[in-house]
Amino acid sequence: MSAASDTAAPPAPLAPRLRWGLLLLGLMALLMVLGPELAPHDPELGRLRDRLLPPSLTYPLGTDAMGCCLLSRLLAAFRVTPVAALAAVGLSAALGCAVGLLSALAPPLLDRCLMRLVEGVLALPLLAVALVLSGLFGLGLRAMVIAIALLHWADYARVLRNLIVAERGKLYVRAAEALGCPPFALLRRHVLPALCVLLAHSLSWAILTFAGLSFIGLGAEPGTPEFGLMIAESRSHLRSHPQLVLVPGLAIMLFVLALNLLGDRVRDRLPGASR
């Protein structure tokens, strides 16, 4: 049985973007799981004798200004920002989807009230409000995750509710319902792909945001192996040891690139997508 969207557009072969995206994302997920086990040294242990060493056999990427092994810190960092981003997006998506589903199925009055609330939250500058909230919660990555989830859920609620309401009235959905297709399968086939695009893009946004906030001191605690923080701590050695800034930045970029490539590819395959 072929998917409904295949009749609208000829099925494209697994395009390079999807393949690269999946490959990269798989690699990143692997690093998230195995990273810290692969680290040759303790990421938080600085040896002052070994400060700012060039790459060698003992320290494959050299050491930073505190004498910590750069590779070990980098591998450990795969469990900090990406996990925080996953937590923020996961919380937002869970809350938002619950509200969106409720709104789509609820009587019109409740639907309208919920959507006004969603519009209100979306009309606020997300980062500014999240920063202030995280300041109230006591700063740090955890406070930031909660602050962002408290605002970002509205995006999911709106998208899910509008998708369900738009799809429910369409002829093919009614036909599918008449044929006995269970509602869950309908959701999976017609709503899930669009949700995946939103997930990929908001994950990539969250990773960039958390790294940026850590860089300016509003994210991870000082000393944590975190991409943005590592860059901030090596900033004064930018000219003499550019690799200390280059390598963590490239790691963030690869992660976000994988998510963006995947998200774009899924979006292009959505029915009604333009180029």
């Binding site: 202030v132 109230l136 790294a211 300016i216 690139l257 774009d264």
Partner: protein, 314 residues
Amino acid sequence: MTVFLRLATRLGFGAVLLVLLSLVGFGLFHALPGDAARQLLSQMMDGAPPDAAVTDDFRRSLGLDRPLHEQYLTWLGRLLQGELGRSLQTGNPVALELGIRARASLELMAASLLVLLALSLPLGLWAALRAGRLPDRVILSVSVLALSMPNFWLGLLLLLLFALVLGLLPVGGYGGAAHLVLPALVVGSSMAGLTVRYVRSWTIDALGADHVRTARAKGLSTPRVLLGHVLPGTLPALLTLLGLQAARMFDSLVVVETVFGWPGMGSYLAGAVLSRDLPSMQAALLAIGAAYIAMNLAVDLLAARLDPRAEGLL
């Protein structure tokens, strides 16, 4: 008539949002765990516990001993007169500091929008004209890279190249046009990734439209077709997109302003949160929120004005 009604609804919604925002801002004082007056005093005294008589005096001087709704109204009244209190850090009136910061941020935003347009319009048009071929592929790939790059990292790399190695531009701070180049380049190019794609896809759609085919059949040159027949059609959508990007630009300002030491609203808010300077946090949040709400409203109105079809969406 209905247009005016819709407009009134939108303005009303904006006003409600502003009131909600002011409640959030007001709530900041009371959301502190424990006694607000005690907290503020001990913050001002670097953590030393203040004694009871002083705390009582301080509480009375801030009006924190009166009922909440009364406090809110007094606070709102002062806010409407532009009295935002004094920064705990510098002791200057917050309104004064905000004024200077807002100007610097607006300059940076304007310059970033210019960079954004200068990058995305030509590249988007070029990619559309060569759709599917090498220039198109290269431009699309670079746009994904630009979207995936952490902007503070790009900022540092540009600093390394232009300020430290070549010595052409200042390392940071506020000053003439030379100080503006790098931050504007970073903010503009990180947003250009998305705009290029939209310009490209609108242009491809327009190139297939009947009126453009007619213009080409008349024998008009490609630049004239693009400028006279393709671009005007995409203008409403483009302006809406730019408005939304300008509103969202604040997200990048927080980080980029801090990287380059640009004294704008973003670095102000970040600094206020970092040092727990409540009056500054409150005022910055209100100012940014009001600007954001106003900007979004302006975008909607502009879109409806330029494209009658969008009026129903107002």
